[in-house]
């Protein structure tokens, strides 16, 4: 079916509209949103299968030929990310059933989550640079509402800062698109790439490349532009935090990946050098902050920043190892960050505090929770059979292949900091004497754990069966390495 690739966008969109009509009927809201997200997930898995067999799928909306209308393009990279997004959204929504509370559910909570998924899936699938801006705005508008819904003081305060940063970066996005349009005269991404190749990237296009880096770096929180993230992600409740941590920054990373492999691959000496340096600084500063805090939410938040740095470093290497490592790590990191935020949410619900010094011995009362957390931490750090290993291995070997031994070593060392920062949480809160910490045993932890364990199983499967998944990753990397495939698929040449 030719319209298959629009399904992960249109199903959540229609669901969001339908959900608005009976905001107060919470049970119906839950059922509809869970069913539609399962449908989105199934559609995206079928899409992956389709791309695996038939190559890149494109859809010219309204049947206008490629550079003139909006084209949706689904290559293996976007399809994998869309499937991961749908899976994480489904698990976060199921988690929300038991944790988010009636007050929020009554105010269009599920509807807004669906709009967030529309924005994220759209941004992954679009083949038009201005359409990408629009999907970014769909995503950001929903994230503003999700951040502030509930209206506590901390949420109001952090929302103001978050919106201000994103309004600025959106204006910058419009400006950059304006500049790019004045140089190449087109908005279709494949056509832009073709025209840039024709003029062989003069200096003005390098300037535009750096502007794009600033725009997407603000969305994706790379080194000098990450300042807004720790505060903003601290404010919302756990399932929203999981959605933010897993999806929003990764859209920025995906955009960097797309623009730097499709548009600006002619003068890599300058742009990709900047990218590599910024990525390493991101990793270093994230590592310092991750071991500095005693607050579990903050620790996980700074682990997002470390992972962003690692992925961007893989992109900056621009060889097949680095790029496939970046793709591998991107999918792994989306899943595992969602797991960690959901687990942190459970721990805070049990103990009523996010400071890990205030409790100990949780493993006595909650053994399954403890071991799930332990596996998640090992997977995040990249212990061999688990999911973080292959991605980081490929990124490091890409770094060595590009002759950047220092960078690759920093990437490898950062794993140690990741492991230390979270293992410290595990040792302090789950080991030790159970006495003296306030533990609430009334929380229905079993129900909350179901979606988390489902995600952990996927993460373990992703690591153990990496041989099988590698086929898909290679297909995704092929398009990144050879933009001609993408251009040919879109423009039919």
């Amino acid at each position: 079916m030719i319209n298959l690739l629009i399904l992960p966008i249109i199903i959540p969109l229609l669901t969001a509209v339908i959900l608005m009509f009976f905001a107060k009927k919470v049970v119906i809201q839950r059922w509809i949103s869970a069913i539609s997200l399962s449908g989105t997930l199934i559609a995206s898995l079928i899409l992956i299968n389709k791309i695996d067999h038939d190559g890149i799928q494109t859809l010219n909306i309204g049947s206008w030929p490629a550079p003139f209308g909006i084209t949706l393009v689904s290559d293996m990279l976007s399809a994998l990310l869309v499937a991961t997004t749908s899976l994480i959204a489904l698990c976060s929504v199921i988690y929300s059933f038991y944790s988010i509370g009636k007050a929020r559910e009554n105010f269009y909570y599920y509807s807004i989550i669906q709009f967030l998924i529309v924005g994220v899936n759209g941004a992954f699938t679009t083949g038009d640079i201005f359409n990408m801006f629009v999907f970014f705005e769909v995503m950001l508008m929903s994230s503003y509402v999700l951040l502030v819904i509930g209206g506590t003081k901390i949420q109001l305060r952090e929302s103001i800062k978050y919106i201000l940063v994103n309004v600025t970066s959106s204006a910058l996005f419009v400006i950059t698109v304006g500049y790019l349009y004045s140089v190449v005269g087109t908005l279709n991404m494949a056509h832009i790439s073709e025209r840039i190749a024709e003029v062989d990237q003069p200096a003005i296009l390098t300037v535009i490349a750096v502007l794009f880096l600033i725009v997407f770096g603000l969305k994706g929180a790379i080194f000098p532009l990450y300042f807004w993230l720790p505060g903003a992600y601290y404010a919302p409740p756990a399932p929203v935090m999981a959605l933010f941590g897993a999806l929003l920054t990764k859209v920025g990373v995906y955009s960097i990946m797309r623009t730097y492999t499709l548009f600006f691959y002619h003068d890599t000496g300058f742009t990709h050098e900047i990218l590599a340096v910024l990525a390493l600084l991101t990793v270093i500063l994230g590592s310092i902050a991750a071991i500095a805090y005693k607050d579990i939410k903050k620790i996980v938040i700074y682990n997002i920043i470390i992972a962003i740095g690692v992925i961007v470093y893989g992109i900056a290497m621009m060889n097949s190892d680095g790029l496939s490592g970046a793709v591998f790590y991107l999918v792994h990191d989306m899943i595992i960050k969602a797991v960690l935020f959901l687990l942190v949410g459970i721990i805070i619900a049990i103990t009523g505090s996010s400071d890990y010094r205030k409790y100990s011995g949780l493993i006595r009362h909650y053994p399954i929770l403890g071991w799930t957390f332990f596996i998640a931490v090992l997977a995040l750090a990249g212990i061999p059979p688990l999911s973080g290993f292959v991605g980081k291995l490929l990124i490091a070997s890409g770094g060595f292949a590009a002759g950047d031994a220092v960078g690759a070593l920093i990437i490898l060392l950062s794993s140690l900091f990741v492991l230390y920062s979270l293992m410290r949480v595990f040792l302090n809160s789950f080991w030790g004497d159970p006495a003296g910490s306030s533990v609430n045993k009334d929380i229905p932890v079993g129900k909350l754990l179901i979606p988390v364990i489902a995600l952990v199983v996927v993460a373990v499967f992703y690591g153990v069966c990496s041989e099988w998944i590698n086929g898909y990753i290679i297909q995704a990397t092929e398009v990144l390495m050879q933009p001609e495939i993408y251009i040919k698929a879109v423009l039919n040449r």
Partner: protein
Amino acid sequence: MEILMSILIGLLFASAVYLMLSKSLLRIIIGTGLLSHGAHLLLLTMAGLKRGTVPLLGEEATNYTDPIPQALILTAIVISFGVTAFFLVLAYRAYQELGTDNIDEMRGSKNND
């Protein structure tokens, strides 16, 4: 003409940045308004301000102005309108709840969460 517009847009950006770096929340929101105004004018300018008639086929002219940036600007205007409306209401709520419009006082502390 493009030079003149560029200078004007530069002035708009300068004022926007100045306002957004101030302490009062309302001045910041006025700054975002100026910023999006500058961005929209930039889109219009960057596509070229060549002479031609309005993009209506009924005019039957030989030259038309480029219709794409006008569509882009229209989209960007409604988006920034939506965001600004949300931001203004948020600022109002924040003023009611936190009792200040000074961005410096909006810090997290033990008693103020």
